[in-house]
């Protein structure tokens, strides 16, 4: 045995330095690095959210000393505000139309694209390009396309009607539609714009999901005698579940916050006509920045926050399934 320093003093007890294990030290370094983005996030996201809850309890004035405490009176006012109820109904309707439409269309296009070998990147770029186009520009152009007298949609409908009348089948013709001028058609029209714009993102994530399914499952199913439809239903769909959950949650959150397209598509009557396209975010914006009732607008944002939280939690609970083959 080598002679060590400790052996020189045989009666001194061996002092063991308290040293952290390697994994603990690694974890501490990780926390240290995470602290900066966390502080950043907390300051820019969490703190203003708490502030806005505080604002919703006061009557707004630019001078902080003159902001009177009102308690929950704005929340009571929300119970009897018909415009807010309309905005709430519209927002839920937007989500009910846009989310399933995006899911179905996105999945369909992704499945088709997955079967294509050549030119797949080109098609992917084409489908993704609406997603990277500014929402305001999209809404402006679509607003013109929906125009009753000058828009392409009505031109197409009129051309079609002329065509079928020429064929002697006038009952097939479709008259020019009012689109954004009709309170009944305006909301679906705006929803169509949102679906069109968000579709690219859905296609990309579903494509990625499809490519993550191992071929062996398809081969095994084919050997067991499954047809194409059965393979889709029993192999593809279950294994795509995480992607579908992600898609539904992300698009629900985005649709519940819908603002850009609504505001820009009908500039003369934002949220109109007659409030038929009004969403909660647009209503909050009008109350806060056209009428300067920032206290009430903050209460509306708290309502939106609670709504999104509840919907997301419900979706997570209901939709998530662990699938293992």
């Amino acid at each position: 045995m080598r002679q060590t320093a400790s052996d020189a003093k045989p009666d001194a007890p061996r002092r063991r330095r308290r040293r952290l294990s390697l994994s603990t030290r690694e974890a501490l370094w990780a926390y240290a690095f995470l602290l900066l983005p966390l502080a950043f996030y907390g300051f820019l996201r969490i703190y203003p959210a708490i502030q806005s809850f505080n604002l919703s309890l006061h009557r707004w004035h630019v001078d902080p000393a003159q902001r009177t405490y009102l308690g929950l009176s704005y929340y009571r006012e929300m119970l009897t505000d018909p415009k807010l109820h309309q905005a709430l109904r519209n927002t839920l309707l937007y989500a009910a139309i846009v989310v399933p439409a995006q899911l179905v269309l996105g999945l369909t296009i992704a499945v088709l694209l997955n079967a294509v070998r050549r030119l797949r990147p080109l098609f992917r770029a084409i489908y993704f390009s609406p997603y990277v186009t500014p929402a305001a520009a999209v809404a402006w152009v679509w607003g013109w396309m929906y125009s009753v007298n000058f828009g392409v949609f009505n031109s197409a409908l009129l051309a079609w009607s002329d065509f079928v009348s020429g064929l002697g089948l006038p009952w097939l013709s479709i008259p020019a539609q009012p689109f954004l001028n009709d309170p009944r058609q305006a909301l679906p029209a705006v929803a169509a714009v949102v679906v069109w714009q968000q579709l690219g993102f859905q296609v990309v994530i579903f494509l990625a999901g499809l490519q993550g399914i191992p071929r062996t499952f398809y081969d095994a199913a084919a050997i067991d005698g499954a047809g194409a439809a059965q393979r889709f239903r029993y192999v593809t769909l279950p294994l795509l579940n995480p992607v579908m959950v992600f898609s539904v949650i992300i698009s629900t959150i985005a649709t519940l916050q819908l603002f850009d397209q609504v505001v820009n598509i009908n500039f003369t009557d934002q949220g109109g006509p007659l409030g038929s396209t009004l969403s909660i975010a647009v209503y909050m914006y009008q109350v806060a920045f056209s009428r300067f009732q920032i206290g009430y607008a903050s209460a509306v944002t708290v309502l939106l926050f609670v709504l999104i939280l509840i919907v997301t939690l419900v979706q997570l609970r209901v939709l998530q399934r662990r699938v293992e083959y």
Partner: protein, 418 residues
């Protein structure tokens, strides 16, 4: 050591130089001619006041109020700010503008020097700002179209107006290709209804103290029926014929498929620049009883809480405000922007009232009313919804008008704290 002393001395001199110069900021919305005019005024002002620097910052019209709402609470933003007079109540209640300081502005003198419309900038007997220029409405018409249709001159009565519009409305199949009248309730249409038609039919929009809606009577209903009838019965117009913000103006000036529009004097610049045809301006038509009425409005320059932060800033801001509302500034504004002067002395100028374009506007200032809005956005929306209910949902005008009266009364009640 020497270097340090030299450095400190330089710093002190710089500091002194900066301390003597007061910098104030002016905000208005971005519109080429107005920014240009203000740049010229600022240059003149800085020459006359070498110890004051004025910075002009502009924002797109759509985001203008939001900029104010976002920056003033943070103690940033303008000292002198331009606001639409119809926003005064909302801004005043939120604390974004303060009354003009009495040591620089004498209320009694201002009452005499400015035209009566400027009273709409007062609350509780104090001025919250002053206008450089005012606007009123007039009828813009396409002279080439009139000539082609064989119509001699602009319509003088509403009956002539409808007849002319009918002659100038063209359709191709079911589609409207040319509109006789650029129907725009969101633009100036709601003002046309509120301050012109209702009064011409013998009614008035609000009670004398401004707290009660007064148009829910026979006169008001007749005005509403006439206005919506332009689309439903006379069929000389459609909603959103030309899409986009200010589509009616684009259709008249740029595209040239609208024969007549009712627009403010602020449109003169855009129409002049865009129109490739011969156009004219006329006073608004009247009914057979010849009663004249017009809607006047203005953008006012006010002082924000920032200006009151210290006496030097307040003095600089007040001096600047006085300068931009002086006679010489108004003359420059008229030449560059084409907006009408707000001082009584200039309005009486005979060369102005005989001008073919400005004349109808100047003449109308004598009978123009500026609505005392409590919440311009909400009140405009009430009229837009009333018109939409009749045109888009085929509701009976009487029912829609009664509902509008109820909705607007709720807005007024809320604003007056009832």
């Amino acid at each position: 050591m020497k270097r340090a002393i030299l450095g400190l001395a330089l710093l002190a001199m710089l500091g002194a130089a900066f301390a003597q110069k007061t910098t104030i900021t002016y905000w208005q919305y971005a519109y080429d001619t107005r920014v240009n005019a203000m740049d010229q005024l600022i240059a003149q002002f800085e020459q006359a006041n070498p110890d004051i620097t004025v910075k002009q910052e502009t924002f797109p019209y759509d985001g203008y109020q939001q900029q104010v709402a976002a920056s003033l609470p943070a103690g940033q933003g303008a000292d002198v700010v331009q606001l639409y007079y119809g926003w005064l109540d909302t801004w005043m209640n939120a604390g974004y503008v303060k009354p003009l300081p009495s040591q620089y502005f004498d209320t009694a003198a201002l009452d005499k020097e400015f035209i009566p419309m400027a009273q709409a900038a007062k609350r509780g007997g104090e001025y919250y700002g002053l206008p450089t220029a005012v606007r009123s409405l007039a009828l813009f018409y396409n002279k080439d179209m009139f000539q082609a249709a064989g119509i001699q001159g602009p319509p003088r009565t509403w009956d002539e107006f409808v007849a002319d519009a009918k002659a100038l409305t063209k359709r191709s199949g079911s589609r409207l290709t040319q509109e006789g009248y650029g129907f725009a309730p969101n633009g100036q249409g709601h003002n046309l209804l509120r301050e012109v038609l209702i009064r011409q039919y013998g009614g008035q929009p609000y009670s004398a103290d401004g707290t009660k809606v007064a148009y829910n009577d026979e006169a008001g209903l007749k005005a509403f029926e006439f206005y919506t009838g332009l689309v439903t019965t006379d069929k000389v117009a459609e909603l959103n014929f030309v899409p986009g913000d200010n589509g009616y103006r684009d259709g008249f000036g740029q595209i040239g498929n609208i024969a007549m529009i009712v627009d403010g004097s602020f449109a003169i610049g855009s129409v002049k620049a865009a129109a490739q045809f011969d156009w004219g301006v006329a006073e608004l038509p009247t009914l057979a009883n010849g009663v004249r009425s017009d809607f006047g409005s203005f953008w006012m320059n006010g002082l924000t809480p920032n200006a009151f932060k210290d006496p030097a800033r307040l003095e600089a801001a007040s001096k600047f405000l006085q300068f931009v509302t002086s006679e010489s500034a108004m003359k420059l504004w008229l030449n560059v922007v084409g907006e009408l002067p707000a001082r009584a002395s200039l309005v009486a100028d005979p060369t102005l009232s005989s001008d073919p374009v400005y004349g109808p506007f100047i003449k109308s200032l004598a009978y123009s009313h500026a609505t005392q809005f409590v919440d311009e956005t909400a009140q405009r929306q009430v009229f837009m919804d009333a018109v939409n209910r009749v045109i888009l949902q085929n509701q009976d005008p009487a029912a829609s008008w009664a509902q509008a009266a109820k909705e607007e009364q709720a807005v007024l009640d809320k604003a007056h704290g009832m």
